[in-house]
Amino acid sequence: MSDVIDEYVKTEYEAGFVTDVDSETIAPGLSEDVIRFISAKKNEPDWLLEWRLKAYKAWLEMDEPEWAHLNYPKVNLDEVSFYSAPKSMENAPKSLDEVDPELIATYNKLGIPLHEQEVLAGVAVDIVFDSVSIATTFKEKLAEAGVVFCPISEAVHSHPELVKKYLGSVVPQKDNYFAALNCAVFSDGSFVYIPKGVRCPMELSTYFRINEANTGQFERTLIIADEASHVSYLEGCTAPMRDENQLHAAVVELVCLDDAEIKYSTVQNWYPGDENGLGGIYNFVTKRGVCHTNAKISWTQVETGSAITWKYPSVILRGDNSIGEFYSVALTRNFQQADTGTKMIHLGKNTKSTIISKGISAGKSSNAYRGLVRMSPRADGARNFTQCDSLLIGDQCAAHTFPYIESKHPNAIIEHEATTSKVSDDQLFLCLQRGIETEKAVSMIVNGFCKEVFKELPMEFAVEAGKLLEVSLEGSVG
C-alpha cells in the first residue's frame, strides 16, 4: 500500500516565496558591538543593554546542548546576521496606511489580511517581519479594555516597570544556550498585559515571518495575565524556501497570576526543507509559563514545519491548585527531525497537569516526544496524566518517547500512557473499498488520530490546523 501513498509525496511549501523589500541587515557574526547596535537601534534604556550584555557573557561560557535526539550540522553563528529590518520601517509607520504595500501584500498572500476590516473577526494581530514588528491591529479596541498588546520593543518604553519586573523572570538569562543567545540579541516580539479581572475581548495573535536570507530570528514574547484575567493567544510562523538552514531561537514567557488563565496556541509552519533534506529552519525555542495560585496555563501546538524542532513548552505550577496543560500535534516528513514535549513542574499543593502528545512521522523523518513530570516534596495531592501516541506512516520513519518522571511526594499520582501505531494497509483498504480515495483516507485517519488536540484549538484555527495537516500530508506520505 505504501507504493500507492508514495504517489502523493509531492507538495510545494505554499508559504515559500520571498518578499522583495529593501532591508537593512547587519554584517554576520556576534559580538558585543552587535548587541550594542541592536539595543541602540531600538533606543533601549541602559538597564536593558546591560541585561543583554550579561546574557551574552553567560552565553559565551555555554555549549550547545547535545542531549536531544537530533542530528544536524551546527549552525555557524559567524555566518548569521543578527538583525534585519525592512528599510521602510526606519521611521516607524504610525498607521497601517503608512506600511510598505509590499509588506501588506506579503501577508495577504499568506492569508493574513492586515486591514482591520478584513481581519478575522475578533482576532487582533501583531506582525513580526524578520527583526521588527510591522503592525498591530485592533490596538485601540483592546486599549478600551485596558489590554496592552504591542511589540515588546515598544513596551520597553511604554510599560518599562512591567517589562523590567517580568522579563527573564520565567526563563532566566542563563537558562540554556539558546535562551541565553535570545536574551543577548532578541529583536522583537509581542508583549501582552491583561489587567486584573479582565477577560480579553478578542483572540490575540502574532504572526512571525522570516524573509531575509542568512538571518536568524530571535523573537521574545512576554505575556502577563494579572489576577483573575483571561487571554487566548495564537502564534503562526512561515519562512521562504531557502537551501541553507536558518536559525530561529525564540523565548516565550507566560506569567499567570492568581486565578488567571492563559491559553497559548501555536501553529508552526516554518519552512521544513526540501524532499532531500536541504534547507529548512532550525527551530530552537524555549517556552515556559509560571502559574500562581488557582491559575491555569494551556499550551496547544500544531507543529508541521522546521527542519529541526527543539521545543518544550513548560509550566511551573508554583501556586496551589494551579493547572498546566499541554496538547501537541507534531508532524514530521521527508528528513524533518523533531524533539519536542513539555515539562510540568509541580511545586504547589493539589496542582494538576495533563499532557496529550500526538506525534506523526512520515517519510524518513524522526519524531521524538520528551517530557518531564516533576512532583516536588510539597506538591501534596498533585496529579498528572500523560498520554503520548505515535503514528507511523510508511516504514522508513522513526518515533521515540522519552518520558522523565520524578516524584518526591508519596501521594502524588502520575499516569503515563503511550501507544505507537501505523496507518495500516487494512485501514486504507477499508476506506478505498468504501469509495474513499487514498489521499482523503490518509488525511481522515491522521485527523482522527489528532482529534483530542484539535478540539483544544480556538475554533478559527482548528480548521486552519486541519487544513495545514492535510496540505503537509499530501507531500508526506510514503
Binding site: 477499508l430 478505498l432 468504501r434 487514498t438 485517519i445
Partner: protein, 247 residues
C-alpha cells in the same frame, strides 16, 4: 452482472487462484464454500482490487465492464461492496464522518445528487435501526471498541447505505452468535433485489439456513470444483469437503 472467466491471481508470488470461472446473474445469491486455504478470501480481495493481489490471467466483468484494471475505490464506487471478515478500527474518525465521506464519494461518482447532512443522518439512523445497532454507534470511532457482532452489523449497515449492485460477504458469519447471525441474515434478505447480487463466502452451511442461496460452489485449490443448489451445502455439512476433492 458479474462474469469471471478463468481468473488466476497470485499473492506474494504464490499462485492462489488457478482458473476460476463464475457467472452471477442479477438478483442471484451465490454461496462459495471450501476448505481453509482454498482461495475464498483471495477471491474477494482480487475482485475488490486490494494491493498485493496480482491478477495473472483471466477476466472479471461487472455489468459488462472489465473491473480488473480499475483502482479499488473506483470499483467500490461502481457498486462493488466487500463486507470484511475482520473489520478494522479507525480510532478518532467517527462512524458518521466515515460513512458520509463514503456515501458522498459514491454518489458523486455515480452522478447522484449529494445528500445534505440532515437527510444523511436520518438515513444513517434508519439503517442502524434495521441492523439493531443503537444510533449512538454513529458517533463512535469506526469499529472502535465494537464487539465482533457489532462490527459485522456495522458492515451490513454500510452495505445498506451504499446500495451496491454486487455484495461480497467474506465469512461474515464467523464469530457470530445465533442472534447476531439472524440480524445479519435479515439485513441481507432485506437488501435482496432483482438488480442486486450477492456472493457469500462461508465455511459453514449454518448461514445458508437464513440466507437461501440460488447456487452453491465448492472452491478448492483455487478453482471451483463443484456447483449445485442449496442441497450441496447440506451434503457438504454432512460429509466434509474431502469426498468432492477425491472425485
Amino acid at each position: 452482472m458479474l462474469t469471471i472467466k478463468n481468473l488466476q491471481a497470485d499473492v506474494e508470488e504464490k499462485n492462489i487462484l488457478k482458473g476460476l470461472s463464475l457467472d452471477v446473474k442479477p438478483g442471484e445469491i451465490h454461496a462459495i464454500m471450501g476448505p481453509n486455504g482454498s482461495g475464498k478470501s483471495t477471491l474477494g480481495y482480487v475482485l475488490s482490487g486490494r494491493e498485493g493481489y496480482q491478477v495473472s490471467g483471466g477476466s472479471a466483468e461487472l455489468n459488462g465492464e472489465n473491473i480488473l484494471e480499475l483502482e479499488a475505490d473506483e470499483r467500490a464506487k461502481k457498486g462493488l461492496f466487500l463486507a470484511f471478515q475482520y473489520p478494522v478500527e479507525i480510532p478518532g474518525v467517527s462512524n458518521m464522518e466515515f460513512l458520509k465521506a463514503s456515501v458522498d464519494a459514491t454518489r458523486e461518482y455515480q452522478g447522484k445528487e449529494a445528500l445534505d447532512t440532515v437527510s444523511f443522518m436520518k438515513l444513517a439512523r434508519e439503517k442502524c435501526k434495521a441492523v439493531n445497532l443503537d444510533p449512538s454507534f454513529l458517533k463512535r470511532g469506526v469499529n472502535e471498541g465494537f464487539s465482533g457482532g457489532e462490527k459485522k452489523r456495522n458492515e451490513i449497515m454500510q452495505m445498506m447505505l451504499l446500495e451496491p449492485s454486487l455484495c461480497i460477504l467474506d465469512e461474515t458469519d464467523s464469530g457470530l452468535d445465533i442472534d447476531a447471525l439472524q440480524v445479519v441474515a435479515d439485513g441481507v434478505n432485506a437488501c435482496r433485489d432483482e438488480n442486486r447480487s450477492f456472493i457469500i463466502v462461508t465455511h459453514y452451511q449454518r448461514l445458508l439456513d437464513y440466507i437461501v442461496p440460488d447456487k452453491v460452489h465448492v472452491l478448492s485449490d483455487g478453482k471451483i470444483i463443484k456447483s449445485g443448489d442449496k442441497s450441496l451445502a447440506l451434503e457438504l455439512e454432512e460429509k466434509g469437503y474431502s469426498w468432492i476433492e477425491k472425485e
